[in-house]
């Protein structure tokens, strides 16, 4: 069977690419520390020697729109074009082309459907910065095939937080039941407290540092039950109007498992939002 060699949860800050590649007067003062932290985080994936990446993210009204909105969608294509013109315009993100892994996509879809998740699928998916940001930070050579999994954290009505945790658990199960000798990493990105298009946006810190402190504690400790007891679709409005993206972190806690402490934890307090980086090694840290 396939081996789940790493579970990685991260924020996806679209400004990283520009900050890390800027030079001279254009380079922001926080760039060097940010790059150091990202390179250390990247090493946690490299060390696990993955062959294929399951990438959990959320389309930001790029390809998926309100006339036809899936809650959970799995890409099943041999390739994925990536990044959209408005991401190039606003964040300077480059157009990319990533390889897909149709066999694992088909396995996730079949087994997921049979496990009670009525997953949507796409044979022609252009992916956005929720998935390309972690490629840029964690695997910049972009050489591994991916299976994209999109969640709706953006367009209400949204699935309940517990459903994200359950989907994470299902992803783990189907990866570990995949008859293959491939080494699989599951990487998902979301947000801590975040405000976009509201009065609390782009402050000196994330909009709710107290929520961020608690959230980092839940993720680092694998405290799924405590997190589910405190977090609801209503409560997530309070720390910032885009904080429902935290449910993708809850999904990744579901992949890692209840009570499973992260093997690697790092954060960076930036303007606008707190960056947070977590890695679990389900079968022990690699040599």
């Amino acid at each position: 069977m396939a081996e789940l060699v790493a579970v990685i949860a991260s924020t996806h800050h679209p400004f990283y690419y520009r900050a890390s590649t800027a030079t001279g007067a254009d380079r922001p003062p926080f760039a060097d520390e940010w790059v150091r932290k990202i390179e250390a985080f990247r090493a946690t994936l490299t060390r696990a020697r993955p062959d294929v990446l399951v990438m959990v993210g959320s389309d930001h009204f790029h390809q998926l729109w309100l006339d036809n909105m899936p809650q959970f969608l799995v890409g099943k294509a041999p390739f994925y074009d990536a990044n959209f013109s408005n991401e190039e315009r606003e964040f300077g993100l480059p157009k990319m082309l990533l390889k897909g892994h149709e066999e694992l996509s088909a396995h996730v879809l079949r087994e997921g459907l049979d496990a009670g998740f009525d997953l949507a699928f796409s044979n022609e998916l252009r992916i956005d910065h929720s998935i390309t940001c972690p490629i840029i930070t964690l695997r910049p050579q972009a050489d591994l095939p991916i299976v994209p999994v999109y969640t709706n954290i953006f367009a209400p009505p949204l699935p309940q937080p517990k459903r994200f945790v359950q989907l994470g658990g299902m992803i783990r199960q189907v990866v570990e039941s995949w008859p293959s000798d491939q080494r699989v990493a599951v990487i998902g990105t979301g947000h801590l407290s975040l405000e976009l298009g509201g009065p609390r946006q782009f402050g000196p810190h994330g909009p709710d540092p107290e929520f961020d402190r608690k959230a980092v504690g839940w993720i680092a400790g694998g405290d799924i039950e405590e997190c589910l007891a405190e977090v609801s679709l209503d409560s997530l409005h309070l720390p910032g109007n885009a904080t429902h993206g935290f449910m993708d972190f809850m999904l990744m806690m579901g992949v890692a498992g209840q009570g499973r402490r992260a093997d690697y934890v790092d954060t960076l307090d930036l303007f606008h939002t707190m960056e947070a980086y977590f890695t679990w090694y389900p079968n022990g840290a690699p040599e």
Binding site: W65, N86, R200
Partner: protein
């Protein structure tokens, strides 16, 4: 009232660089043109399958024509769509990094929780 159609305006204008410039320069003309040519387009279908019943109300139209993003926020337009399009139009007018984004936050400073419902 159609939050959905407000969002559709923001979404379809944002993804079309020519419409972004046109909306910046001539908001009233662009909104009228969009209502005539784009509002009923079913995005994944051929032109003949256009939607027949969608319409902006006067308040929504006025907010779009005035580039009034606090009013769009109050009407429940999706904040991410509004922010993205308005950055595309007006960030260039601010010398400081994030100058427009911070002005945007200031102009919404009167807003308190709970925010307007964005469900469509």
């Amino acid at each position: 009232m159609s939050k959905y159609l407000l969002n559709k305006f923001l979404y379809t204008v944002d993804r079309d660089p020519e419409l972004v410039e046109r909306y910046r320069d001539d908001p009233a003309g662009t909104v009228a043109h969009w209502e005539a040519e784009y509002a009923g387009r079913l995005l994944n279908c051929v032109a003949g399958e256009a939607t027949t019943w969608l319409a902006l109300d006067d308040t929504e139209r006025a907010a779009l024509v005035a580039h009034d993003y606090p009013a769009l926020f109050a009407l429940g337009a999706h904040p991410f769509l509004t922010l993205t399009l308005f950055i595309a139009m007006f960030e260039r007018d601010h010398a400081e990094p994030l100058g427009f984004q911070l002005e945007y936050a200031r102009r919404l400073a009167h807003v308190t929780l709970p925010y307007p419902d964005i469900a469509t």
